[in-house]
């Protein structure tokens, strides 16, 4: 049965392979890449190695999307925020949940029955360590091969990485990647390329020194680990690191840009998304904010936190690193989406990487050299920075919107949540447009240093977050990553937290915090269809095909950082790092509850 299905899948790969630009030589994981090219499947959180999150299917299109209706549903049995999306591989759907990180396999021929389920026993202490709800951004998959049977990879909140037999749900191996006793958790999704599964880290707030690790998919053996701070050998720098752009900084800076040994607790974790270029054999991701949060405690640029990394997949060696926000003062953790595209720049088609950063700037780089192609504001209300100097790569800051002791920062845009957070976005290669879910949230930053007794002071800052100058908390935009031109943009009442999905049916889909899944004409932004889900959305939609029919799937289940007020029943507007105030309206629109919704015509 399974073999026959695979044969069919391969057949359709041959048919579509020409479109992909995958040219023979160096595929990531050949079988996985082929499966990803087949629009029946959705085998990576990012859909494909380029993270296009785009499907060539057009059975559902602008003409008929209004007839979309619920095909089937599934309760995840879990409350809290549902980030990420299910995977679909060879007729089986893999559903994951936030903590306790259960996994369910559903046969698409009979989705009413659970094929297998995996319920990990986790240290409940992990719940307390997670900063912003107990989210999980999804699973990774690899088909059967030299490494053995097809596998599902799960990152658990308590820091373990688990490989499961995709057919049976049996545990094949389990590794400890992060130690919750050190404040380190795992919330990001694993990412498979070649014989490796990449796993990040979380907990920068608590002084975790961030790293990314490559494990062998076969047995979980660690192949390399690259830190964000510290000595060059820990950072895994290539001999020609930043050779094409020495002004980004090169060697010794993981130590020199910190005072003393503060780099040891310097943060720079990565819990966001990856992309991979099989031709260059390079993997891309962003390291997050420096720690501790109080910037006065860590003078210097704090390299290499807040950095876009381009690393050789085999060795982990960094070819380039571009730090977007040197010495961060706002918590603009730069772990966001990495979207790969091939576009013409200066009369030449170049391999590009586009990254909408939490700091409100969209960066487009040549992903071979790391050279900046463009850096522009995702919205004209971004004010901490006047512009990015493309020659030096440095942000030109506006001191008015800085945060430091003795300075009350008013109306800082973006807020600590960023104009773009963990949303997984999409790219339509025909239109050369990225579709972006945007947070439109600003903040006041009021530092305090209050005496108590015996020389003890309470040092901190009170954050108040609220809708940005345009009046709503969210936006959706269609953007050219090279020119910075917005093809269209529409406001959303709440932040669009989870990201977007685009199709060749001239459609783009996304979910909203108040619980709508929406479809817009990707050419104009016109709203063509919406459906109210039981709970708000912080994950991203996917699409797949089964028995000749196109489906759209999405998780419903509010939570995450924007939902911390709901999840933990917080009332103080400054709680949840100010998120409670920004989203206090949300409780009037939606409540927790995890479910999967699947739509078809």
């Amino acid at each position: 049965m399974q073999l026959r299905k695979l044969a069919v899948a391969i057949g359709s790969v041959l048919f579509t392979a020409g479109l992909s630009g995958l040219s023979g030589a160096a595929f990531g994981n050949t079988d996985l890449a082929r499966m990803a090219e087949d629009d029946k499947n959705w085998v990576m959180q990012t859909k494909d190695y380029s993270a296009t999150h785009f499907s060539r299917m057009h059975q559902i299109n602008t003409d008929n999307v209004k007839y979309l209706k619920v095909a089937w549903t599934f309760s995840t049995g879990t409350l809290h925020g549902h980030e990420g999306a299910p995977l679909v591989a060879d007729g089986i759907m893999y559903v994951h949940t936030p903590f306790p990180n259960n996994v369910y396999a559903l046969d698409l021929n009979d989705p009413g029955r659970i094929l297998w389920q995996y319920k990990p026993k986790q240290n409940p202490a992990a719940r307390a360590v997670a900063c912003c709800d107990v989210v999980n951004r999804g699973l990774a998959y690899v088909p059967a091969g030299d490494h053995g049977p097809a596998k599902i990879f799960l990152n658990q909140l308590d820091g373990h990485v688990v490989a499961l037999n995709a057919k049976t749900g049996e545990e094949i191996w389990k590794m400890e990647n992060s130690d919750i006793a050190m404040g380190s958790t795992l919330t990001g999704a694993p990412f498979v390329a070649k014989d490796k599964v990449l796993v990040g880290s979380a907990g920068a707030e608590l002084g975790v020194r961030g790293y990314v690790t490559a494990y062998n998919i076969k047995d979980g053996k660690q192949q390399w680990r690259a830190y964000a701070t510290g000595p060059d050998q820990d950072l895994l720098l290539d001999a020609n690191f930043n050779g094409p752009n020495p002004h980004y900084g090169q060697f010794g800076l993981g130590l020199q840009t910190w005072e003393g040994d503060a780099w040891k607790i310097g943060g720079g974790t990565n819990w966001g998304w990856y992309a991979y270029d099989p031709k260059l054999d390079m993997v891309y991701y962003g390291s997050g904010n420096p720690a501790p949060w109080n910037e006065t405690m860590r003078p210097g640029d704090n390299k290499w936190t807040m950095t876009i990394w381009g690393r050789d997949l085999n060795t982990g060696k960094a070819k380039f690193g571009y730090q977007k926000t040197p010495h961060d003062e706002w918590d603009y953790a730069g772990v966001n989406y990495m979207g790969l595209s091939e576009q013409e720049v200066d009369g030449k088609v170049q391999p590009l990487l586009t990254h909408p950063d939490r700091n409100g700037i969209v960066y487009t780089l040549n992903r071979e050299t790391g050279s900046l192609v463009n850096a522009f504001k995702i919205d004209d209300t971004v004010n901490w920075v006047k512009k990015v100097d493309l020659k030096t790569g440095l942000p030109i800051r506006d001191p008015e919107y800085a945060t430091y002791m003795d300075h009350e920062g008013k109306g800082i845009c973006p807020s600590a949540m960023g104009y773009h957070n963990q949303g997984l976005e999409s790219y339509d290669p025909d239109k050369k447009l990225f579709f972006m879910g945007v947070n439109h949230i600003c903040m006041d930053w009021e530092p305090f240093m209050l005496p108590y007794r015996a020389g003890q002071f309470f040092v901190g800052a009170t954050l108040n977050m609220y809708p940005g100058p345009k009046g709503t908390l969210g936006q959706v935009k269609a953007m050219n990553g090279v020119t910075g031109r917005m093809e269209w943009e529409v406001p959303e009442k709440f932040a669009v937290w989870g990201g977007t999905m685009a199709t060749a049916g001239n459609l783009m889909f996304y979910g909203t915090l108040d619980g709508y899944i929406k479809a817009r004409d990707s050419r104009t932004g016109d709203l063509l269809w919406k459906f109210k889900l039981p709970s708000g959305v912080i994950g991203h939609p996917i699409t797949y095909q089964h028995n000749g029919k196109q489906y759209v799937a999405i998780y419903s289940g509010v939570g995450g950082w924007p939902g911390v007020g709901l999840v933990f029943d917080l009332k103080d507007p400054t709680a949840g790092l100010g998120a409670v105030g920004a989203f206090k309206e949300l409780a009037h629109y939606t409540q927790m509850g995890g479910a999967l919704f699947v739509f078809s015509l």
């Binding site: 307390a128 040994d261 501790p292 240093m449 209050l450 020389g455 009170t462 954050l463 949840g576």
Partner: protein, 289 residues
């Protein structure tokens, strides 16, 4: 403005000062609901007892006005007139009028008693040998641990003491009893705490622990002095001269009992006339509230 208020107070002084005549007027004390060993709602803190003693001597019934967040009780309660008196304030705290100090104590090293082991100051070799060190963030202990290079490697441990609750936007309580018990259990080799906070729990450990006052001569990495000894007063609102005078009178009259109360608690007491800075002299740090 200030003068006007003072004048008014002076006029009303005889009325207030006549003690017994206004016995019905309660003495409203701002006190922590849950900050043992200082104070708690059940009155188990040594400052609860001190407040009782002062109210008793003034012939006024004690009324506790509870707070939960030590960051804001001066701003939100004392300054707003919801209470009138605060126990256990650094002498010279710029936000208040502070009484004559009623005791002086210091930060202490707390460690398991061991033959021949004497942890004297931050130059002590033991400070480098100790695996885990329990301390309160944003205290002189933190400043010195930074100076000797033991802060960064203790950062994770520090967070673990409060279950990794981030302090950015909220008050996170570090429980002194827990910190002392970390040393008892062997989880930490050393605790650096303000003696009045630690004394009760060191005593409860029944001789297992050594508690040594840290000398007031600790020097920061940049050469500045880090005060480790502090004098303690009772605080009132800035314009409450008369109340301060009342309190001073009681503190003087009942000094022996107060000393006894602190001794029972196990607090090491330093001479009140010990020279050295108080909060008044170190109060260069700005604060908002």
């Amino acid at each position: 403005m200030r003068f006007a208020r003072v004048t008014l107070l002076v006029l009303s002084l005889p009325f207030l000062g006549s003690g017994g005549a206004v016995a019905a007027e309660p003495l409203r004390v701002c006190a922590a609901e849950n900050e043992l060993p200082y104070s708690d709602k059940d009155g188990k803190g040594f400052e609860n007892k001190l407040a009782e003693l002062i109210a008793g001597e003034l012939g006024r019934p004690l009324e506790n006005v509870w707070w939960q967040d030590p960051r804001y009780f001066v701003r939100d309660q004392l300054d707003k007139g919801l209470c009138d008196v605060v126990m256990g304030i650094d002498t010279g705290d710029a936000r208040m009028l502070t009484s004559e100090p009623y005791y002086r104590s210091g930060y202490v090293f707390v460690y398991r008693r061991e033959k021949g082991l004497k942890v004297e100051d931050f130059d002590s070799e033991f400070l480098h040998r100790a695996k885990q060190i329990a301390f309160m963030p944003d205290t002189p202990a933190e400043t010195m641990l930074k100076a000797i290079g033991r802060y960064n490697d203790q950062f994770n441990y520090l967070q673990s003491l409060v279950g990794f609750k981030a302090r950015r936007n909220q008050y996170v309580r570090y429980d002194p009893e827990k910190l002392v018990n970390e040393v008892v259990s062997g989880s930490a080799d050393l605790a650096v705490l303000w003696a009045p906070q630690a004394a009760r729990y060191v005593k409860e450990a029944g001789g297992k622990l050594e508690m040594r006052v840290i000398p007031d001569r600790q020097i920061r990495a940049d050469g500045g002095k880090v005060p480790f000894h502090y004098s303690t007063s009772v605080g009132v609102r800035k314009d409450e001269q008369a109340l301060k005078a009342d309190v001073d009178r009681v503190l003087k009259k009942r000094a022996k009992e107060i000393q006894a109360l602190l001794k029972v608690e196990g607090i090491p007491l330093l001479p009140l006339d010990e020279s050295g800075p108080t909060a008044a002299h170190t109060g260069t740090k700005k604060y908002k509230g």
